[in-house]
Symmetry: D3
Subunit: 135 residues, 6 copies
Amino acid sequence: MKVTVSRKAHFNAAHRLYRKDWSDEKNNSVFGKCSNPHFHGHNYELIVHVTGNIDPETGYVMDMKNLKNLIKLEVEDKLDHKNLNQEVPEFYNKIPTAENIVVFIFNALRPNLNSEHQLSITLYETPRNFVSYSG
Amino acid sequence: MKVTVSRKAHFNAAHRLYRKDWSDEKNNSVFGKCSNPHFHGHNYELIVHVTGNIDPETGYVMDMKNLKNLIKLEVEDKLDHKNLNQEVPEFYNKIPTAENIVVFIFNALRPNLNSEHQLSITLYETPRNFVSYSG
Amino acid sequence: MKVTVSRKAHFNAAHRLYRKDWSDEKNNSVFGKCSNPHFHGHNYELIVHVTGNIDPETGYVMDMKNLKNLIKLEVEDKLDHKNLNQEVPEFYNKIPTAENIVVFIFNALRPNLNSEHQLSITLYETPRNFVSYSG
Amino acid sequence: MKVTVSRKAHFNAAHRLYRKDWSDEKNNSVFGKCSNPHFHGHNYELIVHVTGNIDPETGYVMDMKNLKNLIKLEVEDKLDHKNLNQEVPEFYNKIPTAENIVVFIFNALRPNLNSEHQLSITLYETPRNFVSYSG
Amino acid sequence: MKVTVSRKAHFNAAHRLYRKDWSDEKNNSVFGKCSNPHFHGHNYELIVHVTGNIDPETGYVMDMKNLKNLIKLEVEDKLDHKNLNQEVPEFYNKIPTAENIVVFIFNALRPNLNSEHQLSITLYETPRNFVSYSG
Amino acid sequence: MKVTVSRKAHFNAAHRLYRKDWSDEKNNSVFGKCSNPHFHGHNYELIVHVTGNIDPETGYVMDMKNLKNLIKLEVEDKLDHKNLNQEVPEFYNKIPTAENIVVFIFNALRPNLNSEHQLSITLYETPRNFVSYSG
């Protein structure tokens, strides 16, 4: 009897999309205004989905207070109000696209969850663009 | 050619999370303010997803008016403006967590649907916490 | 140069609408299922609007962190996960309609704000019903 | 490492649900006010989901600007501000239910995407009714 | 102690924007694709705001069930699933822009409300365009 | 017969809150993590409200296509995907708080509107914090 429990969270951050090994022209032609060297930013809306059996004693798949705290520790404290390119080691040499950020969040949370639980992440970069990843 | 049709509905209810066989201290340590003996409540937002083939004659998987009526009869009439612990027999001896409520809703709707249709339920307990179940 | 700054918050609570001095029949005819003696509940969405001049030194009308903390102290701590009729003294003898709750919230916040600031409160009882009050 | 990227779009259109080979009575009994011969209409909210591997060079599954342009060309230009029954050949002899429209959109986009990418479409006909199709 | 109570409702309709006394060219240059002779349509989201004193006996400004019923009778029954140009007499000779529709709704509701209550209407034609009118 | 027409738009940008004439300690104590020298960013949601009489010939207060284009020219082109502190002259020496940005947007749009029209701006910095200004 697998149920998925989901928790929304929020962080905002600055980033730019560019490759050091490309010319400015190439960065601009691929990433457009997203490669602005002065950075731009987003309010990222995050949804964390955890799937598992209902514990018959508590009626919970997992305690959402624990999930909320885990998201704070592993995602918000690392990314909120940060410049992703300059302050998050994962993105010193990896482009902080929504795709790469959602994989980073998955990898940050996965080791902290019960191994029998499945994890899926949805990340809104803007109200009209979002990505999801399930490992 | 399987298509999923989805319908949103709404109900509000009071509940508390606690086990009669636990001390107040244990209930409080596990469920926190959700175990308040005076109850608290939520606006539950419900999404019912039904998957099946498109009927070539009507262009419908199923008539959404019928689904709307079924949700009213099997979910809203049983749960809306109710105290889940005291007025819904399912929860006299089962904790009305979102997980247990979503399974209850699935079980209430499943027998009323065409057996070739798949059913999935999403239930928002708050705008930031939701659960889903597909049997 | 008056600017309005607004902050959203959230609490959930149980309540019932009834008057002790009315018969059950009269309560039921006026308040319908909202008078259920076992209570029901809501996720209340709150928006607090404060209007004032921009402080030229900080660029703030008021520090939103302070407003967030004030809402927590004066509204969330008093109402969240509570039974309004039984646990909030204001509603021992006053019906906890959305109208009366929005006035209560206004009166709880007003004395804690700069007297030159104007205050307005919006309170969603459900996604389709909301009230507002400006003193 | 499959990631799903999703893009929201919008169009509005008029339609009616009816079959020429049915009597008015039968159309009315099956489709109700949706068969109004004078038409009615909707703001359709569309979400296009594309699943594939992250390109290690760009960090993209696909360039969302390209997806946005493709949706404009293949969906918005064909359906926006149109009468689906009278101006969209697909629906001259097929009922423009949400189910049939979502299949039409899938079929319009599928040939324009990388064959290794999976496609899924979600279409809101109203804020409370939506459909999805994955081929 | 004036409080505003607000109720959301929904209807969908077809319309076109054009003037019979203008050439097709002029209609097209002023109204663009909104003048499509085959019509297009919208999901209109309506918010009705009523301002008045709280009745000390009930705690209500007005009973929201009555407001809900009034909106159904005076707005939804007249406009929902209709072709505004062809089926709503008000718009036989008046262009059904959002501005003219919001005034129509105001005028339909105003005579049915307590004369001491103030009325204001907000009408969303699309998620990004809306209008409001207070008499 | 004054009607208000409103249009939503969107831009995203990086910024930081700090004063050059304050120490790092003071900036940090007043602005907290919003003063991060590496910048952070937001998806700003903008609503522009214009109030005026309905033109009896067109049924419009103003053509929303013109308003949309004006917002693009005067707001989006100047602020979207920009670093507000480094690339928008207005904020070289003024702190880009939401309050100061909303006044900037008002001042950018006001001279381009009919002088008989009233203007009001609402700006969401995050889904929970927003500001508004009417001149």
